[in-house]
């Protein structure tokens, strides 16, 4: 029975696989238990420890309520909230920063938190409540507030500077780098921006980026970098390194920095100084972390109140301040010696009073990316005035109204016609190829294919079709409207920006093609070269080389990509240090399109060449040696042997690898995102990273993002057809 056997074996294999997997599969939450409260957070270290202690105390004191804590990594937190809550899989409570309160409440992910009577709204600092108020409603309970402050290495500097200018002078005398902060990050720049009197939103909700004050603030930051007071390219790791090594006596950073300072360093935290030119203090963004109540919660209000009291009440607040080093907004806790006598916490409290809450409007999501770009442009010495004008334009581009609603009628008719045509066509080709008569003999083949086909349909094709359908809709604030093909029209016409602008689809397409081409060429040539070097059986140590050269493939790329980014740092990176040996001036890799692109390509080449090397080595082994030796006897030199014997024989093995490799590279999101992050000015983005940005950072425009993705798919499909034709013609 040739037919029954495979099925039986599959079932057996699948059952075995499922059985080993099924064991730990947890029973789904069958019946809701209103006294169980599920709480999601992304705390780690001391903050996590504090939260767990609070919950333990609650369990000890109140046996009616059980809290289940789930730490969700920050990277997946938001996506998980938006996916889970509408489907009833969400938590009852979750802890998150206040900025998204507008977006989440508009998308119906939240229920307004009912405050317990014994812990009224007035018990919390007004500023923290304001941050959580949107559309006139206070949505959540504030738990802690965070902002940047000034860290001083007391071993190097005794005074506390009153102005930025004083700080720079003191810093210059005490260390190599007078002041370190993440100058290229808009979150950090906000402190300067506010000192120049900028407010991002007007009373009427208008966005005010294109102002003289904003330009002045950018120019101010540009001067700090330009005269060497602040390092131009710095991320968190670099800043903590500079402080820990005593290179930078002053650092502007947030409370999370406390855990990164080396034990032996004597440091102090002080409120930020004043900008002499405006007489205003640096006022950083204030982030309020809060306890939110999720829509579709299952826990009862009493249980929720018990948890709120435990975490946000006096006892819980003091514990979080002591163990988690959090700055708590509960007014009653402020006077307690735990906070009042703690110089670090009280400095953060003082700074919190002199900070501006990050705007919680949904539109804020569209501001980060353009402002980061404008800021970096100013740091590179470009005209700040021009930078803010362009940033304002970009923000309005991201916030432009969605395409008009389209009548679905014509589209449905078109779809019907297409389906009809497709059916007719396939019927005809079925008949022409006598498919029906061939079917019975093909049944065994289909049985072999069935399991894979089922899995692929379920997990790949169906989600893809669903996702593709979204491209016909516009997504604004949780509502989808049918817009037909207008998303595609917008992308392809790139009417807002000329085709030569980095934000246009066509520009990105050219970059993506160049990116793919450069990578594939380098992968293949390096892989081929190494394989040729390692091919010969008499080559010594070839096993050792082969093992070591595979290593880049085996280490997860999300960490090595970050290492590469660090290697391209202008001041401290290994690449510039290496070039310095040859007398090359340090290069700012990410401030120029070509060098930034080269940095991306270098990283991806490093990641990808081992695969090609291994493929080529395998293919080389299949080439009979006598062929090459015969050519040698005939007097062909090394190049001729390679060109006329080896290469033609390698081609059939290399082509599929090249096709697959080009498709992978075309969609290689990680490297762009982690290495250049699109710098400068978004010009090194590729299509897939643009699609991600539209979906996740530019106002969740899923329809537009999906249209982008479909276009990517279309391009690759054409590429596949083309290569199939080429390989088909040769085979």
């Amino acid at each position: 029975m040739p037919v029954r056997l495979p099925i039986a074996s599959y079932l057996a294999a699948l059952c075995i696989a499922t059985a080993c997997v099924g064991g730990p599969a947890l029973a789904a939450a069958d019946e809701p238990d209103p006294s169980r409260v599920l709480l999601w957070h992304s705390y780690r270290g001391g903050e996590r420890e504090a939260l767990e202690q609070v919950v333990r105390r609650l369990h000890a004191a109140n046996s009616d309520v059980t809290v289940d804590l789930l730490a969700v990594p920050n990277e997946a937190f938001r996506q998980r909230l938006t996916a889970a809550i509408p489907r009833g899989n969400g938590p009852d409570l979750f802890i998150a920063p206040h900025e998204s309160v507008g977006e989440w409440s508009r998308n119906h992910l939240l229920e307004a938190m009912p405050y317990p009577a014994d812990l009224p709204e007035a018990a919390f600092l007004a500023s923290s409540r304001d941050a959580l108020t949107f559309d006139g409603q206070l949505w959540a309970v504030p738990l802690s507030f965070k902002s940047l402050a000034l860290f001083i290495n007391r071993g190097l500097v005794k005074q506390t500077p009153g102005t930025v200018e004083e700080l720079v002078a003191l810093g210059r005398a005490a260390g190599e780098v007078p002041l370190a902060y993440e100058a290229g990050n808009f979150y950090h720049h906000a402190a300067v921006m506010h000192a120049f009197g900028v407010r991002l939103f007007g009373e009427d909700g208008s966005i005010q980026i294109d102002t003289a004050e904003m330009a002045d603030s950018l120019a101010f930051a540009g001067r700090l970098v330009g005269d060497g007071s602040v390092p131009p390219e710095s991320d968190g790791a670099l800043v903590s390194n500079l402080f820990n090594s005593g290179t930078a006596p002053f650092v502007i950073n947030g409370p999370w920095f406390l855990g990164e300072i080396r034990d032996e360093i004597d440091f102090a935290v002080e409120p930020l100084p004043t900008v002499a030119a405006t007489g205003q203090p640096l006022q950083p963004f204030l982030t309020v972390e809060a306890l939110y109540l999720a829509a579709q919660r299952r826990a009862s209000t009493e249980a929720v109140h018990a948890v709120v009291r435990a975490i946000a009440g006096l006892e819980g607040s003091l514990l979080r301040a002591r163990v988690g080093r959090q700055t708590v907004p509960l007014i009653a806790a402020g006077a307690d010696p735990v906070i009042a006598d703690d110089p670090v916490l009280s400095a953060f409290v003082a700074q919190g009073a002199q900070a501006v809450a990050t705007p919680n409007r949904p539109e804020m999501g569209a501001i980060w990316e353009p402002m980061n770009r404008a800021l970096r442009r100013a740091l590179r010495g470009s005209d700040a005035r021009k930078a803010v004008v362009e940033a304002q334009q970009e923000v309005s581009f991201y916030l432009r109204p969605p395409p008009e609603e389209a009548a679905p009628g014509p589209y449905l008719a078109l779809l019907g016609l297409l389906l009809l045509g497709a059916t007719g066509w396939s019927l005809r080709s079925l008949k022409r190829n006598e498919v029906v008569s061939r079917l019975p003999s093909a049944i065994p083949a289909y049985l072999y294919l069935l399991p894979a086909a089922l899995g692929m349909t379920l997990v790949v094709f169906l989600p893809f079709l669903a996702g593709a359908a979204v491209s016909l809709f516009a997504h604004v604030g949780g509502e989808f409207t049918f817009v037909g093909l207008r998303n595609f029209g917008r992308i392809l016409s790139s009417s807002e920006y000329g085709v030569t602008h980095p934000l246009s689809f066509w520009f990105t397409l050219v970059v993506t093609v160049a990116w793919t081409l450069a990578n594939v060429v380098l992968h293949v040539s390096i892989g081929l070269g190494l394989a040729l070097l390692l091919r010969d059986p008499w080559m010594k140590l070839k096993g050792v080389y082969r093992v070591l050269l595979i290593v880049p493939w085996a280490v997860p790329n999300y960490i090595t990509a970050l290492i590469w980014k660090g290697m391209f740092n202008r001041q401290f990176g290994a690449v510039n240090a290496f070039l310095d040996l040859f007398g090359v001036e340090p290069i700012s890799w990410f401030s120029n399109f070509f060098t930034s692109f080269a940095a991306n390509v270098a990283t991806n080449t490093w990641l990808g060449f081992p695969f090609m090397m291994v493929v080529t080595l395998g293919a080389l082994q299949a080439i009979p040696r006598d062929l090459i030796e015969a050519a040698e006897v005939d007097g062909a030199n090394a190049w001729q042997r390679f060109r006329h014997v080896t290469l033609p024989l390698l081609k059939p093995a290399l082509l599929p690898a090249v096709i697959l490799g080009s498709v992978w590279t075309f969609n290689m999101f990680n490297i762009i995102y982690l290495v250049s992050a699109g710098e400068p000015d978004g010009s090194t983005e590729i299509l897939i990273s643009e699609a991600y940005k539209w979906a996740f950072t530019r106002q969740a425009q899923y329809g537009y993002a999906s249209a982008y993705a479909l276009l990517i798919f279309g391009i690759l499909w054409l590429w596949g057809l083309l290569t199939q034709r080429v390989t088909g013609a040769e085979a």
């Binding site: 789904a28 996506q79 889970a84 294919l449 669903a466 190494l530 960490i559």
Partner: protein, 288 residues
């Protein structure tokens, strides 16, 4: 001339330039990885910023942080994560191999309507940008009751790995002479027996590669696992690793230590399978 001719290429002196190139490339290949090791071994985040990839102080603090993670019930989370990762990756490998081998066999040995379209469809799946699929996939898994189960994860990972595996296996199967099978059929063997007794044993290198690829797909993934699983004890290792990447700051030392722990098994597999790797990937399109 009685002096025996020695091929210069086989001596150190004759191949020194090859070694020079290879040593250079190997250094470049290992340098970033050495940095990962340096970050992992330096306590806290205080690794020095120099071009020197060797740590100036050595401590295993960062490793113990991850290995020693406990939850509120005092459970040793690390071992749960390892267990989940191992289970999911092995199950993915098994399911991936079973599905890919049979599909590849059909593509290699049968002619049937839709064969060309089928191979095309496999390549096409590699072109689907993940960005459009995440939320529909979540909804689907929810509807199928496969959220929060390692089975659901296994299904997702195995199907992700299938296209590459089928492509490669099909290429390899194509290189196995059909005459072997014809002889077996003459002896009265069924298709299934030929597949399991002749083709599969002959394809060991290609299957090894398939296994490695499926294993790696499951072993390194974290977004789906972080979105689907409802309990910290049901996370996988990469999810745990991602916790060190915060909104404001990243704990570099612990992150690097975790990355090393995650890559050690993969590297071990690579080295164990490296002979097969070379032969198995020959596959591609070398037809006989």
């Amino acid at each position: 001339m009685t002096v025996k001719h020695v091929d210069r290429r086989t001596t150190w002196a004759g191949q020194w330039w090859r070694h020079a190139i290879l040593i250079l490339v190997t250094c470049a290949a290992l340098y970033p990885v050495l940095w990962v090791v340096k970050m992992a071994l330096t306590p806290g985040d205080s690794f020095d910023l120099s071009a020197n990839p060797l740590p100036s102080q050595v401590s295993f603090e960062n490793f113990t942080d991850l290995v020693g993670s406990t939850d509120m019930q005092g459970r040793k989370l690390f071992w749960y994560w390892v267990r989940n990762s191992v289970i999911v990756s092995l199950a993915t490998t098994v399911v991936g191999i079973v599905l890919s081998c049979s599909a590849a066999y059909a593509f290699s040995r049968f002619t049937f309507p839709g064969k060309k379209a089928g191979m095309g469809a496999l390549l096409v799946t590699q072109m689907f940008p993940g960005v459009v699929m995440a939320i529909p996939l979540y909804i689907l898994m929810d509807a199928a009751g496969l959220l929060n189960s390692l089975t659901g994860l296994t299904l997702c990972y195995a199907t992700t790995a299938i296209p590459f595996c089928v492509w490669m296996l099909k290429g390899y199967f194509d290189t196995i002479p059909k005459e072997l099978e014809e002889a077996a059929i003459m002896d009265g063997a069924s298709r299934w027996m030929i597949f399991t007794r002749i083709v599969l044993p002959l394809s060991r290198p290609a299957i090894a590669v398939t296994a490695l690829f499926s294993f790696m797909t499951a072993w390194n993934e974290f977004i789906l696992a972080a979105t689907f699983m409802a309990d910290e004890t049901s996370y996988t290792l990469p999810v745990a690793l991602q916790r060190y990447v915060g909104d404001y700051s990243t704990q570099w030392g612990a992150f690097a230590a975790g990355a090393i722990l995650v890559s050690v098994p993969v590297m071990a597999l690579f080295f164990a399978l490296q002979k097969n790797l070379v032969e198995g990937l020959t596959a591609g399109g070398v037809k006989g």
